[in-house]
Subunit: 695 residues, 2 copies
């Protein structure tokens, strides 16, 4: 944080710390110079910013993420206010003859003394813990209900047609059946929708197989970029080296090392002029010959588009599937043409692979770890022997090789899950990211939390279990409070290290300065160098969810975890607010469709907490343990009611929302249509009539 | 059947045997006199009738019922052709040392000899039975797939706008939220839909609380009926008794026994004239003051109506629920205003009650049976003692009282289930009947089939089970073939008694002649006397399903049941065809929405069959029993695929179907609107402008 306060005042780093504001054309420091600025002003700014600011700067998805953080924070604060001052003294003052109070060795064991583990079996004090379970559940229900209502309103407000949203006029049509009378897909789509919607149908854009066009387009773009780089270097050289300028040269052969020496600018220009007609010809043939069985259909009315996306068009579900169109920039074009059955099969295959990964990911990691122990390394790779003779290297390798394998795996997993989700045939980036985040959540909860608790205990006492298999459950539950101290430190570590890195943006800062020094030549390159990503829901939400699950589960057993959880989400709120307002640029906008997923997962955590408590009360041989049984049932009913009440609106747009404050002016349909044309197919010079009129 | 052949040729019975044809204005015997008619011509006529005839005379629902019969018949015929000639000899020729072949006492035990029970444990001949299971399943899958496709096409053809269907222009709107600015529900509905569908919205009809109006209307109708009866008797007396006629008189007091003597026609006329303005006033106040939170909304376009019924209109699911309008005649008006949550809660309460009935219905019946044994009767009702002294009465009572209790229960149950289904808040008659039929199916399968098989066995051998609890499953499965002979007779009895009664219509014939003689005075009364009901899906389908389940489950164990099943469905087809073409008048048309329910239940029966076989092979200690395990999985996958592919179109109309052969003429919207006004609110004289214009 200190490094952030210092680094962010430097004008040279402005691109790293305020890219969002620069892109919006705002002054990074709100009109004040870097000198007069209080290094901790960002905290005040973050706190004083309203939800509306977030929505206007970063969109509804970010605002929904803050609702999530708020809710988690609220649950932990409200629970903590009651639980910490009540339960901790109750546990501390209990005289438990089975526990030897005198020899607390370290802080961890002091923590144990403050937790539920310190209570005697059948102690009447357990009553307070029952009430605490109800309190935590009640607080969660109320806050979640409020949050869902709030998010639903946020979504409704965002969907209202105050400003033009291109995707509201379009629907995605997939599974177009092969034409029977030999006409093109475009004719077929036009016919079909003109018959059903004679008044509001505008145009259709058939999805094409763009691989060839994209290849030429990318080449062309590459040459354009190089040309402008060469041009800018030439201009620089005019002022710095000599007035008439130094023209760059390059060799045309392999890697620019061999071949004829030519003038760069002229060479690139030639290439561009050569490729342009080629691109146009390729565009023409693609549009006509490579039509696929999917299309984007445009209507002149928002209501018709939304109603069409919710209606069955064909008798069989596997043809003419119509759905809401995502924003043009987040459409995964290559997924669109995949047929209904292909999608279903792909989905199940992916689910199966993910299941395998969750269950058996320890096997490959274990294998790598085993293989990379020093003796094995020596046997498998004898040529490394001279290196391994060094003591220092040996120590480092021995200690860190298994860790390294695990780290690489953990870093690559989210990307791999995203790749898998896209392979399911999902049509939009945001949807794929939601699907991948869900998979990652299951992975992290099952492995880090449950695997960490139960697995660890299992291996510790495998021999005992062999002798008394019935005591397994007892043993597991008994180990819960012991793990509590581990997880308290886990939560604390997360916010100290994770958030510090995120706020100070050390890694992007270093990369930015390196790129500025060695790579960047034009203004555009410079922007690319500091252009940040988005909030990264893919890893951020599952990680937050993991902390939430851990904190919830231990909230009653070891209430001291609650303040740590609250700090995690409080700090997270503060830092994410800064990032969202000043740094991050969202990649897409899904109008809060992430929320139902978060909601269900919070409820799953709550359920896990309640079941854990049920087991743990049973182990304490508390007579009134069945009093906990209604809680999981309440959670299931609550989840069911919320799903019934709210979920439909997150699947599709409600029609009443679309007509509120209806724009009376007709939007420019041609602009909307153009915005959906993929870049590779965009005409180079003026509007491309070929694309519109070709059938 | 003989009695039918004889009775149906009598001209006096024409109303009982050909009501359908008379209502359609057709000659009952196709132009031929009753004399020249072959008594068995109906069989030829039924066989030669096409599906189109059925649809045009009795609607899609009846045609779908025949598809069901066809499918069941097909499954049993195709299975029987292979299974009976192959499996029966295989079982017969097996030498099983454990079974004593010599002392077959009766036909039942001969049946056992032809069944799978006769095979030795681990006999290699069991391989044929495995193949038989696969054959039955395969035949079922193929025929069910074809049937679903066919029904889907039937539905599509019926929904195509060849003729005007009023309900296709309307949607049902429920859960209208209370108005915020004090305007009436009608204003609110009009506002809401005019904003969303500015071009296609036509009018709305708000549901009102009609109890008061209906009471007056019923009274008025009653007087009108009596007036026309008196009038017709007066006219009759003119020709029969004396030329100036005999005017009927009645007393105005209690039950027409005391009070002033008045002229009937004048009295009824006075009453009608007195009530008519009262009805009009009541209509006026009802329409304005008793509006409820539900409405029927009319659109000028089929596509808009269908799309609206499939779209979410409000942000929250519990307001502005929009769904397809059912036919006006089958709307359950009193259910419409029930709120979303009321419906949900009612549904679960009803499910719970049905569960209780299924599980514990034997308790009240058992209690009644126990109470009505003779010694108990004597103790409980000592005043009956003199009667009970008679030997004959004692015998009859002792034998039939418990049976009577069971019969009364079985007869009342479907009506009670229909009442429960309506209490769920379902908006249409057809939907309620589907729901009730589903409940009745579960009841009959669980009780008659599973209860009959397993329960009977359990009680028989309760002591053995106490000694060897682990042998229960063995014992249950061992009893399966024994029950087979019982179920074969069960199926045979069903078609001999049940279909005979249905075809000959003895009961309606007797009632008709009694009514004609003693009650009927006008032509209208006469029509009412012979007016038949509909096919009675409520009891017919669950009963057929029960036979299907029994036959499927025993198809491999005792293949001789297959011909009986085939005869049941074959005869059923023939007789129902006659009934549908000549007798029955459908109450409503749901365009085949019953089919998905039948389909799922056939698959449930198939699953039960496969699981039964799995257990039974296990008991025969057949090593390759796991070969059966894929079958239940195939069934589940098949059910899932069918649901995915076909079901959506049965939930709502596909838009493409609605535009095929689109009527170019605008329908008369006013007629459509009028057809939805409930009878109690119909204006007496000319079009009722009050209803249309009142807000």
């Amino acid at each position: 944080m200190v490094s952030f306060a210092w680094l962010s005042t430097k004008p040279r780093n402005v691109g790293v710390y305020y890219p969002n504001r620069i892109l919006k054309g705002l002054d990074p420091w709100d009109g004040r110079g870097s000198k007069t600025r209080n290094p901790f002003a960002w905290i005040r700014e973050a706190l004083s910013s309203s939800e509306q600011d977030v929505i206007s700067i970063s969109g509804v998805d970010s605002a929904v993420y803050f609702v999530f953080l708020n809710t988690a924070l609220g649950i932990f604060m409200l629970s903590g206010i009651l639980l910490v001052p009540v339960l901790v003294p109750i546990a501390m003052t209990e005289k438990n003859p089975n526990v030897n109070d005198s020899n607390w060795k370290n802080a961890f064991e002091v923590l144990d003394k403050l937790s539920m583990a310190h209570l005697k079996e059948q102690s009447p004090r357990l009553w307070t813990y029952v009430i605490a379970c109800y309190w935590v559940s009640l607080v969660s229900y109320i806050l979640l209900w409020k949050a869902y209502n709030h998010v639903s309103d946020l979504r409704a407000t965002a969907l209202m047609p105050r400003e033009l949203k291109h995707e509201q006029f379009a629907v995605l049509v997939r599974d177009i059946p092969p034409s029977s009378n030999g006409c093109s897909v475009k004719e077929q789509v036009n016919d079909y929708f003109k018959t059903i919607y004679p008044e509001t149908f505008y145009k259709s854009l058939v999805v094409t197989e763009n691989r060839k066009v994209n290849k030429i387009y990318d080449e062309l773009e590459d040459f354009r970029k190089k040309f402008s780089q060469a041009e800018s270097m030439y201009h620089d050289s005019k002022s710095h080296v000599k007035p008439e300028g130094v023209r760059q040269t390059l060799r045309t052969g392999l890697f620019g090392l061999v071949g004829r020496k030519v003038d760069s600018m002229a060479y690139y220009n030639d290439k561009i002029e050569e490729l342009t007609p080629k691109l146009e010809a390729a565009q023409k043939s693609t549009v006509i010959e490579k039509q696929q069985g999917a299309a984007v259909v445009f209507f002149t009315s928002r209501v018709t588009a939304a109603a069409a996306a919710q209606s069955a068009h064909a008798q069989m579900i596997d043809t003419w599937t119509v759905m809401d169109a995502p924003e043009p920039k987040q459409i995964l074009w290559t997924n669109l043409h995949k047929s209904y059955y292909e999608r279903v099969i792909r989905q199940y295959v992916v689910y199966f692979i993910v299941l395998l990964i969750i269950c058996f990911h320890m096997i490959p990691i274990g294998l790598i770890s085993a293989m990379t122990t020093l003796p094995n390394l020596r046997r498998l790779a004898p040529f490394l022997n001279p290196i391994l003779e060094h003591n220092a290297i040996r120590t480092v390798l021995g200690a860190y090789l298994p860790q390294l394998a695990l780290m690489v795996f953990t870093a690559l997993l989210p990307k791999f899950l995203l790749f898998l989700s896209k392979a399911e045939g999902i049509p939009s980036e945001s949807h794929a990211e939601r699907a991948a985040a869900g998979k990652y959540f299951y992975f992290s909860v099952l492995n880090v939390f449950i695997g960490g608790t139960i697995g660890g205990t299992l291996f510790d006492s495998l021999k005992d279990i062999e002798k008394h298999p019935k005591s397994t459950l007892d043993r597991l539950a008994r180990s819960l409070p012991g793990n509590a101290s581990f997880f308290v430190t886990f939560v604390a570590l997360r916010f100290f290290v994770g958030y510090g890195l995120e706020l100070s943006r050390i890694v992007p800062l270093i990369i930015f300065h390196l790129r500025r020094k060695y790579v960047c030549k034009t203004e555009r390159d410079l922007v690319e160098a500091w252009l940040p990503g988005d909030l990264g829901y893919l890893t951020k939400i599952p990680n937050d969810m993991l902390i939430l699950t851990i904190t919830l589960c231990y909230s009653v057993i070891a209430p001291l975890i609650l303040p740590f959880g609250a700090i995690y989400f409080g700090l997270g709120w503060l830092i994410s607010r800064n990032q969202v307002l000043k740094v991050l640029v969202p990649k897409y906008e899904s109008y809060g469709k992430m929320w139902p997923h978060m909601h269900v997962r919070i409820l799953a955590s709550l359920l896990l907490f309640q079941v854990t408590m049920l087991v743990y009360f049973g182990i304490k041989k508390f007579y009134y343990t069945p009093l906990i049984i209604p809680l999981p049932m309440f959670t299931l009913i609550f989840a069911f009611v919320c799903r019934k009440k709210f979920y439909r609106f997150f699947q599709s747009s409600a029609l009443e929302v679309l007509v509120e404050h209806e724009w009376k002016d007709m939007p420019n349909m041609e602009t909307i249509y153009k915005s959906f044309i993929p870049p590779g197919l965009h005409a180079e010079n003026g509007p491309n009539e070929r694309l519109d009129e070709s059938v």
